[in-house]
């Protein structure tokens, strides 16, 4: 076995990332690598900096220090914050996806489900209506939305359907990395289980890498290969998900894990 087979380049390398809001430290010296197909959960209490980390890595926020390197398809590892805005937007709309906690932030609520799914493809220049509609139908099926609803606007959808539509809208360009901010938190438990199962299948089938922010340790346990724990703007612990949950080392992680109610 050659070393290259085991350790190709990371898809994403986050190095010493920091972010302040009006002089207050929101994120301090965060570093991690992510490889193709890996699911990384970011956990911590509210205000710990997990959403700031996600938004800064996804280039939705400019960092005050550090850099984010991404293995672009055409030019290899690139500093995403140093790219031209046009290039960064193209990356965000093709090779990346972003699933918001509130579907209304990630969908166009007044246009049809089919148009929501087709929008990214149209942005890439696809104009053939029949082909766009066929692709939208395939994706609705894949995320278990009745194809008969293709012309309905997502404001008529349930919470779980909206979240699945948001996922289809992001995955239609076959991205390699998807960011998710609490994607299951507003959903009923049964709807949540269905979404988790679907996310896991998509991760496996598409070799998708995912960074998922969640306050729910059970979601992290089921979905994530690896975990980072954030506390007061810092990553205080990292490891395989079951290592962090079953043998937490840091005082804050021990508190977090022991505070979960038994089921």
């Amino acid at each position: 076995m050659k070393a290259n087979d085991v350790m190709p380049l990371p898809l994403l390398s986050v190095q010493g990332l920091s972010k302040n809001y009006a002089g207050r430290v929101a994120l301090q010296d965060a570093s991690f690598d992510l490889w193709p197909g890996e699911v990384l959960a970011v956990v911590g209490e509210s205000g710990s900096g997990k959403t700031t980390l996600l938004n800064t890595v996804a280039a939705r926020l400019q960092p005050d220090g550090g850099q984010v390197l991404y293995d672009t398809r055409d030019a290899g590892l690139q500093d995403v914050h140093a790219m031209s805005q046009a290039r960064r937007r193209l990356l965000a709309r093709t090779d990346w996806g972003f699933v918001h906690q509130h579907a209304a932030d990630g969908l166009r609520m007044e246009v049809s489900a089919g148009a929501n799914v087709g929008e990214r493809l149209m942005g890439l220049g696809q104009r053939n209506y029949g082909r766009l509609r066929a692709t939208a139908e395939q994706w609705l099926e894949r995320v278990e939305i009745d194809v008969a609803r293709i012309d309905d606007a997502p404001r008529t959808f349930s919470g779980g359907m909206r979240q699945r539509l948001q996922i289809a809208r992001n995955l239609v360009t076959q991205p390699r990395l998807v960011f998710m901010d609490e994607p299951t938190s507003g959903l009923d438990v049964s709807v949540q289980a269905r979404l988790l199962d679907m996310l896991r299948q998509l991760n496996q089938q598409m070799g998708l890498a995912v960074i998922i922010v969640t306050h729910d340790l059970a979601v992290a346990r089921l979905l994530a290969h690896r975990m980072v724990v954030m506390y007061r703007g810092c990553i205080v612990e990292t490891g395989l998900t079951d290592q962090v949950l079953d043998d937490p080392q840091h005082a804050y992680t021990q508190l977090l894990v022991s505070s979960v109610l038994p089921t």
């Binding site: 076995m1 085991v6 350790m7 490889w35 890996e38 289980a193 269905r194 988790l196 199962d197 896991r200 496996q204 346990r221 089921l222 290969h225 690896r226 990292t238 490891g239 395989l240 079951d242 290592q243 079953d246 043998d247 080392q249 840091h250 005082a251 021990q254 508190l255 022991s258």
Partner: protein
Amino acid sequence: MSTLLLSMKGVSKRFTLHHQNGAQIPVLDQVNLDVRTGECVVLDGPSGQGKSTLLKLIYANYRLSGGEITITPPQGEPVDVGSAAPRALLQLRRETIGYVSQFLRVIPRVPALDIVAEPLTEGPAGSAMTLEAARETARTWLQRLSIPERLWSLPPATFSGGEQQRINIARTLIKPRPLLLLDEPTASLDGKNADVVITLIHEARSRGAAVIGIFHDTAIGRAVATRHVDVSQFRKNA
């Protein structure tokens, strides 16, 4: 020809409880253990002596407090479990170590058949099977472990303890990995199913796998062991 698969040198494990005034709970100390292909090492000793902890350290579920664990896959380079990158540990679990834990922990809603088939569909292209081929193999495992066919399409959450345990065994043994860690795999099984597990362990050994197991029932332990290791010897200084 047997080869060295697992080597533990001076391994120790203690837990530090930060919220109990930093209390230290020592569990294992000075574990020295080599395991070779084709062996079945049965861990003995009263409960609370660290038998499960030993398996969890090998699986990298628990982190080492001291010492070294080296695993050498038959066709690969040695992996230092304590310092390996997460990615290397995931590969080790996928390709080399099968672990049957005491409880089945799986995603809700996934049918038993797919839970058993899943390990065969994981891995780099070329080594992974298609889902349909993996299901075909999974059916033979479910049959061997006497899971009634009417349950195959149901998620195991509602199954009995013994049925869940058999799903767990099938899911781990379906992929012929070189090192098997079995934590009380027969605890909730009746005699007939326990006999099936004994046969499966013999089969794994004869294909060259090494097995390390904990068995509450000493008769089963005796039936599968090529060697017994008393874990209480690793507590002298712990």
